[in-house]
Symmetry: C2
């Protein structure tokens, strides 16, 4: 058996990025079911959006220079020479000295280069009085101004938010190549753990609540979790159940094993699943030190601490990164944390990252983070919290009023 050193949070993230690769397996998904799926290929536009020059206002398509000098006090005059119908092709080109009515979103007549808003002119029996001048391109969206044919509009690894779905729809894309959905499996260990549905507890028993918090977070990341039940602290049973679940899923999550027996078994069981095995065994973090991370033949295995609050924080920090990498998602730059000012001094040991649950309040354009009192094992501290403040391992603590990063809870 290998020996492991406790890793810092920063080392743990680097190791995750190094060890966890995306799954194989892509599929084609109808666009209307593709929300929050991850693109498996770059998407190139096959046409321009918009497909034609459009007006962004109700008004008159003109030659901009025909309006130069027009003002309220010195109107110009043009000939109102017809109208473009909504949804119809504008076939008749505009001639100098003329103006053609175009509704918002309507097509610009050939030759016209701008639109004078209806509020800035007046059609008096076919003579259009113009009270303002416009510049070329004003109130117009050019063909291809939103998306140009041939342009790569979305890259592989992009999670499809509503706006990406909209952009794809504007191109007439009906189905998209995405990574297949992934499934995780969850197993609780511990002689004291009973199903959460247990109506009345015997003394010494505790309900298994980590499954629901883990499955809830995974659901928010678009991942289903198979419930594998609770195994007793007995190597044979634990190992067999873990193996069976590992085979059925893309990722195995083990919770608990807070008793000494289970602690011993967990590493051994994980090492037996496949190579290269455990790469993080203990993280210099509070709460959540006894975390185990592994890869067994390409499938990640996450050993969570048993305390519900610790398990949730660890899963939020490292489980999310692991599962998003596994599902092919680019975990790049979108902000998942904000900055707030801490309301109290908090001490921390250098070399260890601390995660402090906080309630956020907004005061005069700033967020203030108020630490939640209570031992780290308490699930209610998370219920009361809006997020967690990170004190990274380089710091010896933070002082009242300091700006601190807050990882928001959902």
């Amino acid at each position: 058996m290998k020996f492991f050193n406790v890793k810092t949070v920063e080392e743990t993230f680097s190791l995750i990025d190094e060890k966890i690769s995306k799954i194989n397996g892509t599929e084609t998904c109808p666009l209307k079911e593709a929300l929050h799926r991850v693109l498996a290929e770059d998407i190139t536009a096959k046409e321009n959006v918009p497909a034609f020059d459009r007006s962004t206002v109700d008004g008159y398509a003109v030659f901009a220079r025909d309006t130069y000098g027009s003002s309220e006090s010195m109107p110009g005059f043009l000939t109102a020479a017809g109208e473009v119908e909504m949804g119809e092709e504008a076939v008749f080109p505009l001639s100098r000295g003329n103006a053609i009515y175009v509704p918002t979103g309507g097509m610009l007549p050939p030759n016209s280069d701008s639109v004078l808003m209806i509020e800035h002119c007046e059609d008096i029996g076919g003579l259009l009085n113009t009270y303002r001048q416009v510049a070329p391109g004003e109130n117009v969206i050019r063909a291809g101004e939103d998306i140009k044919a041939g342009e790569t509009i979305l890259k592989a690894g992009t999670k499809l938010r509503p706006q990406e779905i909209g952009a794809l729809a504007s191109l007439g894309v009906r189905e998209v190549p995405v990574y297949r959905k992934i499934t995780a499996a969850y197993l609780s260990t511990g002689d004291e753990i009973v199903p959460y549905e247990t109506e009345s507890l015997e003394t010494g028993q505790v309900r298994d609540i980590n499954f629901l918090t883990v499955a809830g977070l995974a659901d928010e990341w678009g991942i289903d979790v198979i419930y594998g039940g609770i195994t007793a602290d007995e190597y044979g049973e634990f190992s067999e159940r873990a193996r069976e679940l590992y085979e059925r899923a893309d990722c195995l999550i083990l919770s608990g094993g807070s008793s000494v027996g289970a602690k011993d078994y967990t590493t051994e069981v994980i090492q037996s699943l496949g190579e290269p095995g455990v790469f993080v065994h203990g993280i210099s973090i509070k709460p959540g030190k006894p975390t185990i991370l592994a890869v067994a033949d390409g499938k990640p295995v996450i050993g969570l601490p048993g305390h519900p609050a610790s398990a949730m924080i660890i899963f939020r920090l490292f489980g999310e990164r692991i599962l998003k990498r596994l599902k092919g998602e680019d975990t790049g730059s979108r902000p998942e944390r904000i900055y707030a000012r801490i309301t109290k001094n908090i001490a921390s040991s250098p070399g260890r990252s601390d995660y402090i649950r906080v309630r956020l309040t907004e005061t005069e354009g700033e967020w203030w983070a108020e630490p939640i009192i209570g031992k780290s094992g308490l699930i209610t501290t998370l219920v009361k919290s809006d997020g967690i403040v990170e004190i990274n391992s380089a710091k010896e603590g933070i002082s009242q009023g300091d700006y601190v990063p807050v990882i928001l809870s959902t």
Copy 2:
């Protein structure tokens, strides 16, 4: 027909809070399916969590005063008097001068008041050498310290996040009273609009992309949207389709109608659905001015502008508030925006709220918001954005380096 004044953003939010009430209708939902549902009743704890005094570490349950004065250089001595098994009741009380081994999560023996970590003592043939002193309560979670029997732990209106589900599971709650799910219905209007699946467009036509962006956002708020198709700019058909969809759903969303005909009809159609009708007709906002908000016999009706980007921003701002109020959710204090520093000066008209799409980048512990260049009608401006900066109506603009609120996109 009534006349309407354009409302400010602040007035619009106040009117929404005044006019939109939560739906009638609650149901009982199994806890494991209750993620993101909204509680319809306060939840009171029926038991203590934990149910018994637990150790938070592997160690020895002791009388704290028996350890006073112990240190590495001057160890104390206690008698190692047995062990508590995980998940078992600790029946034998602790006597003075003794220590009983308890695993993490195990039950404390009667009389003991604290736990000395295993790292801080050594069992030498039944004689426990203690190298540190502990304080009463150290390394112990008391019965009821997380949740006290009789305590209201969650209030009606709470959206159930993973941690709330966990807290309920810890109490053995198997089902919860929630508001029923709500459904919205969506109808596009406009002669130029064709289904988004349309493979090739005729000149002048535009694909209907607002349905997918609206349904995508609603999905993130836990709401299904029925697609009602596209209606031509013809009062009879528009009115009939709107009425039919209004009857089938809890909220009606109308998109587009950017042509003059549709603009006229939309208000009339909405007013015909029920009392009191339209309460916002035009908002002093950019983009999204031609927004219509109404209540018809208790059901909200949202008239979105036709431009895809405007429609999405309006729906994110006002649609979310309307739908969350409708589904009974407390829209209280959880942060949905962050503060960032703007990278450029941006002018704005006083009296109008501007929403600027931005990309966020993190530099030395601060978020910087970089405005996205491009006309407001372009859907790709939202694809490139991480959020939208609000310049409220009291301001004449913002200057480079100013802290500004950013509403994050998902």
